[in-house]
C-alpha cells in the first residue's frame, strides 16, 4: 500500500487537502474560514482531476504541426472539466462572500455560534 501511495502521491496530497478543506467548511465557526475551507476543498478536487489527465512524457493537448497521433498528447477531458469546476467555484465563493457581508451587517460578528445566539434571542422576542 505504501508503494502505491508513493506512486499516486499527487492524488494522496489532494485527498488530504480535501479532508482539511471539508472539515474546515463543516466545523469551523468563523465564516471567513469556512469560505477558505470551501476553496481548499474545491481546489483539492481540481488537483485530483488534473492528475488523472496526466500521462508522463506527453504534450499538452494542442495539436502541433497537424500531428494528431493520440500517443503524443495527454487526456484533454480533465482539463475541460477543471475549467468548468473553477468557474463554479468562483461563483459559489462570490455568493458566500456576499452572504457573509449581509450577515455581518445584521449581526456584527462572523462567529456562527454568536450569530445563532443572537438569532435565538430574536426568535424569543418575536411574536
Amino acid at each position: 500500500m505504501l508503494e502505491f501511495i508513493w506512486t499516486n502521491r499527487i492524488q494522496c496530497v489532494s485527498v488530504i487537502l480535501f479532508a482539511i478543506g471539508f472539515s474546515t467548511l463543516l466545523l469551523h465557526r468563523n465564516l471567513m474560514k469556512k469560505i477558505i475551507g470551501l476553496n481548499i476543498m474545491d481546489t483539492a478536487t481540481y488537483l485530483f482531476l488534473t492528475s488523472i489527465g496526466m500521462i508522463e512524457g506527453r504534450l499538452a493537448p494542442i495539436i502541433q504541426n497537424g500531428d494528431t497521433d493520440v500517443s503524443k498528447y495527454v487526456n484533454p477531458l480533465p482539463a475541460g472539466l477543471v475549467l468548468t469546476g473553477i468557474v463554479v467555484s468562483v461563483s459559489v465563493t462570490a455568493v458566500m462572500l456576499a452572504l457573509t457581508i449581509r450577515l455581518y451587517k445584521s449581526y456584527h460578528t462572523l462567529n456562527l455560534d454568536e450569530i445563532y445566539l443572537k438569532a435565538q434571542e430574536e426568535q424569543e422576542e418575536e411574536p
Binding site: 480535501f18 478543506g21 471539508f22 467548511l25 463543516l26 465564516l31 469556512k34 470551501l38 476543498m41 474545491d42 478536487t45 485530483f48 482531476l49 488523472i52 477531458l77 480533465p78 472539466l81 468548468t84 469546476g85 463554479v88 461563483s91 459559489v92 455568493v95 458566500m96 452572504l99 457573509t100 449581509r102 450577515l103 445584521s106 449581526y107 456562527l112 450569530i115 445563532y116 438569532a119 430574536e122 426568535q123 411574536p127
Partner: protein, 497 residues
Amino acid sequence: MSFTVNFPLFMIVLSLMSAAVSSVLPGKVARVITLCLNAVVCTASSILTVYLYAEGPVFYKMGHFPSPWGNELKLTYLGSLFAAIFATVMFLCVLGGKKHINLDIEAKKQNFYYIMIDLIQAALLVFCFTNDIFTGYVFIEICTIASCGILMISQIGRTTLAAVRYMIFSLVGSGLFLLGVVVLYNITGHLLMPQLRETVEALWQSGEYRMPLISSLCLIVSGLAIKSGLFPFQFWMPDTYGYATPASSGILSGLVSKGYIFFLIKIILDVYGSDMFYSSGMNNVLFALGVIGIVTGSGFAIAENNIFRMIAQSSAAQIGYIYMGIGISPTLGIVAALFHIITHAITKPSLFLSASALSDSANGYKKFRNLQGVAKDNKPAGIFFTIGAFSMIGIPFTMGFVSKYLFATAGLGEGSGFKAYTTIIVLAVSTILNTLYFARTVIRIYSKPTGENRIKLTVRNQKPYVTASVMFAIINIGTSLAASPIFYLIERGVSRL
C-alpha cells in the same frame, strides 16, 4: 424521429433564456414569463410522456456527436412525467405565493426572484432528462445557488442566516458529489451513464478497483443525501423553511430536494445498477438513516411551537420515508419512494401556503397560541390546511394514505425479515406522531378563538391562493383515487429505467 423528442432541449433552453430575459424586465412581466414557462413545460412534458410511453426511451444527442463523446439526454416517460409534475407544482407555488412574494421582496428586486425560479426549473428539467453525470453536477450547482437566492431574497437577518446554513450544507454535499464523480471517472474513463453502467458492471464482477468503486458510490450518495436533507444533515431545514417566503419554502421542500433525490435514484439505477447498489450495503445505511430521520423529524416537530418550523420538521421526516423506500428494494421500494416524492411535492407546498394564509389572518403571528381559532376567520385556508394535514397523516382518500400503503407493501413484500418489521413499526409509530402534531394543529385552529382582533379573509380577497390550493387539493384527492394507474406507470418506468 418525431419532432416531439426535441421538446426537452427546447424546454431547457427556454428556461435558461427566460431567466436571462427576466434580468432586464420589471418584476410583474418576469412573473408572467415564469408562469408561462411553467405552463409550457408542463404541457410539453405531458405530451412527451404520452409519446415516450408508446415509443420507449429515446437517446437524444446534444450536438453532432453520439454517446461516449458528446453530451446526451435520455428521454424516458418517467423522467418527463416527473418534469410535468414538478412544473405543475412550481406553477401553483408561484401562483399561490403571489401575495407574500409581493410583500416580502422589495419591488426592484422581484425580477431576480423569478430569474431564480426559471433557473431552478431548468435544473429540475436537467435532473429529469440528463444522461451525463457531469452535466448533472453543473446543474446541481445552478440549483444550489438559485435556491439560496430564493431563500435570502427577503433580506431579514434570519433568512440570511438560514441561507448561509443551507449553502454550507449544500456545498459540502456538492463537494462530495464532485469528488465521487472524479473517482468514478478515474476508474472508468467515462462520464455518460450507459458507458458508466457497462464499465461499472464489468469492474464489479471482476473485482478490480473494488475499493474506489464503493467509495465513489458512498461519496455520490452521501453528497446528494446531504443536499436533500437526510437525517444527520437536516438541521438547516427548520430555519430554512421557517423564515423564507412561503412560495420559496414550498419550492425548496417540494421540488428542489425532490429533484436531487430523483437524480440520485437515476444514478443508482442507471450508473451503478440495482445489483451493485443493493449488494454493497449502502442501501442498509440509507434505510437506517431514513428510519432515524422519520422518528427524529416527527419528534422535533412535536416540540416546535411555530407552525412553519413544525411543517419544516415534518419535511425532514418525509425525506426519511423516501430514503427508507430506496433502502428497502430496487423494485417496489423505489416505486414507493417515487410515489412519495409526488405525494410530498403536492402536499407540502399546499401546507406552507395554507399556513401562511392562516398566519396572515392572525396578524402575521406564527406561534400556535396566536393561531387558536384562526380557521374561523379564514375558512378556505382552514379547509385546505386540514386536507394537507390529513394527507401527511395518511388518512384514506388522500395521497399520503396511498404512499404509506405502498411503503408497507414494499416492506412486507420485499424486505428481509428485520427490515419488514422495522418498516411496519416505523410506519405505525410515525403515523401516531404525525397524528399527534397535525391533529393538534388542526384542532387548535378550529377551537374557540381567543378574542384577539383578526383579519377576516374570504375567498374573494385571496383568489390566487385559493386557486392554487384548490388545484393542489384536486390533484391530491384525484391521484389517491387514481392511484393504481399511476402506480403502474411508475412501476413500468422503474423496471425500464
